[in-house]
Amino acid sequence: MPEKLVITGNFAAAYACKSANVDVVAAYPITPQSPVVEKISEFVESGEMPDTQFICVESEHSAMAACVGAAEAGARVFTASSANGLALMFELLCWCAGARLPAVVCIASRALGAPWTVWTDHQDAISMRDTGFMHQFCETNQEIYDSVLMAYRIAEDPRVFLPMFVTYDGYLLSHTMMPVQIEDPEKVRDFLPPLKTHVDVGELGETRSVSAVIPPDITVRPEGNTPGYMEYRYAMQKAHEYAIDVIEEVNREFKVKFGRSYGNGIYTSYKIEDADILIFGIGSVASQSRMAVDQLRSEGIKAGLISLKLFRPFPVKHLREIFTRVPLVVVFDRDVAYGYEGVLAYELKAALYPCQNRPIIRSYIVGLGGRNIPTDTLTKAVKRAIKEKDDSSVQLDPHTDFLDLDLDRLGLSIEDMQKEAQ
């Protein structure tokens, strides 16, 4: 029977793993993801997940390696991590995507050390950008549960066969209780039938192997030519491109089945109909921006919000369609591409560059290492962007704005630091 529980985001991820009837879980604890591992262990030991093997590994690296091995033997696999643990997984994440294994990996996002930190920002998740994983972000615990189920459907679609991240903010969601509808197992199985994998090493014929050495060029063989590395990678890029339609499709189907959906599966929007300024953000930043939109509107500024759900594949077409409607976009990044600017900001700029009506895009860095993001900070930044919109010296200035720095109390000022540098 479906049941409504009041649970944390981590437990929502664990319940989703149970609902998806995952075959093999291999995971290693890290703050703030640990309760995911603990809850799954409890499910397995209590017999509530009788078909699941839980491999209690000694590191995130082995967690992902075991997931890769299991997926290569045709298993549906799950793991979760955060920050430094996720960074340790990196090699195997690339391997998993390259082998086209439909794993689902949850990220309870957390800032990366050094210096040591356990609080949220999106640097860990965003840094996984080029692994080949698809990647969706969540704003509520229900969305975590639902997104994991959808992620398996998307990842296991034969048009896709790519792994997917489901990211939610550490602490803000991972440790915050919210009501979550846990669906009936029968109904979930109907939506998410058992994995029909494209690779099961146990069933492979003789003289076949998985993830062998692939030369740069195609190999000519009497049995039929085999692709070179570049053909494999082209196929991976195409799979990302096809995935966008699949993701929208799955989002629609999920709505029919369970009565919930997340915008178009690509982004959710808030008060955009008459907006002439759009805020762009993900996860916790987007949640906070909803309040900023309300406050700005109460002051007569027609602001709206696009909360990006799908970070990879990057939904260029959708973003062009929505963002060319307004003259000004303000992007808040809880991450930095060091030496450049916020990742969402520059990716949006790149996506909109070929468009005739591309807006002015103003970008700010907020909330790194778990620093609070007050609504006022966001509204002030939007107002500043409006004021400076037509100031070309501001638009051409390549420096990146960090909001809510507290340099004064450290006896520092940006001006002094700049002078010193000269």
Binding site: I55, A66, V68, P215, T219
Partner: protein
């Protein structure tokens, strides 16, 4: 011991590997796979054995192979074994991790130790050719004392090799054995035993594999070199079942120092040891004496 005529005639490594001429590892691989048979999944991290697999998804191996990352021989095998168990197929397949000494002694040690402690169900083979041969003969912690490698190019290695067997023994494994590429019957039987002990956690076999380019001898002498390692007493052949050690018939007589050939028989023909002086040879002699002393002690305790 099985007669040579009773071995399976079927070959599991077909012509077309990309291994070097005279490769000791290939010899060991060939006999091990005969023992493991058809219902085997082998997982291979970065090593010479990946080269053996050829390119492009078709391999000269007659069993399915999964290639994995350098440090993940054991963890990938854990995943494979876990998936088989989840599907109720764990009794139908033998999972074998076939890993080099670098992947075992060094970069993959953590994952191996963890899998051994958890008792994951697979056979782990360390094909030990005593250096990072695949990347060009760099030192590993399995490289023996004095060996010149491309990262110990002039003075040779200053340390004796890590006592990996002791480390693995500390995990309380159900089955452990040493083997040599030069003793295929012994190797075959050990692999068969490890296979039969399915469901009893990690079974660990370490095979000394001679390597013509890495050790520096003519390709025609691979069997000879691997055999000399045993005959000089440097590489004792034994197995340990549930903690109880027995010397293997093939090499048991070398417990008697009188029966051993001088270690210089093994060292002198190899380019990697060409520079060794008498004091270094004494280190080798002491090492061998120490290895056998420990074995003797263990045998005495077992027989008490």
């Amino acid at each position: 011991m099985v007669k040579i005529s009773e071995y399976p005639e079927e070959e599991f490594i077909l012509p077309g590997t990309r291994l070097c001429a005279g490769c000791g590892l290939q010899l060991a691989y060939r006999w091990a796979l005969k023992a493991f048979g058809h219902d085997t999944i082998v997982t291979l991290p970065a090593s010479c054995s990946v080269v053996a697999g050829g390119v492009g998804g078709y391999s000269p191996l007659k069993i399915p192979a999964v290639y994995d990352c350098f440090e993940t021989g054991a963890s990938t095998a854990s995943g494979l074994a876990g998936a088989l168990k989840a599907k109720g197929r764990e009794k139908t397949k033998t999972v074998v991790a076939w890993v080099g000494d670098g992947g075992t002694y060094d970069i993959g040690l953590q994952a191996l130790s963890a899998a051994a402690e958890r008792g994951d169900d697979f056979v782990y083979i360390c094909a030990n050719n005593q250096a990072y041969m695949n990347t060009g003969i760099q030192r590993s912690s399995a490289s023996p004392y004095g060996a010149r490698t491309t990262t110990t190019p002039i003075l040779g290695k200053k340390e004796i090799s890590k006592n990996m067997l002791k480390i693995m023994d500390a995990h309380g494994l159900s089955y452990m054995a040493t083997a040599s590429a030069a003793y295929p019957q012994d190797l075959f039987e050990k692999c068969q035993k490890a296979k039969e002990m399915q469901g009893q956690g990690v079974r660990y076999i370490e095979i000394l594999c001679s390597c013509p380019p890495g050790w520096g001898y003519g390709v025609e002498n691979s069997v000879k070199m691997a055999r000399l390692a045993v005959e000089t007493g440097y590489w004792p052949l034994w197995e340990r079942i549930h903690g109880r050690i027995t010397l293997s018939k093939a090499g048991s007589k070398f417990i008697d120092p009188e029966k051993r050939k001088p270690i210089t028989d093994f060292l002198t023909p190899q380019v990697r040891f060409k520079h060794l002086k008498q004091d270094a040879i004494s280190v080798w002699e002491n090492y061998i004496a120490g290895v056998w002393k420990e074995i003797q002690k263990e045998l005495d305790e077992t027989n008490q």
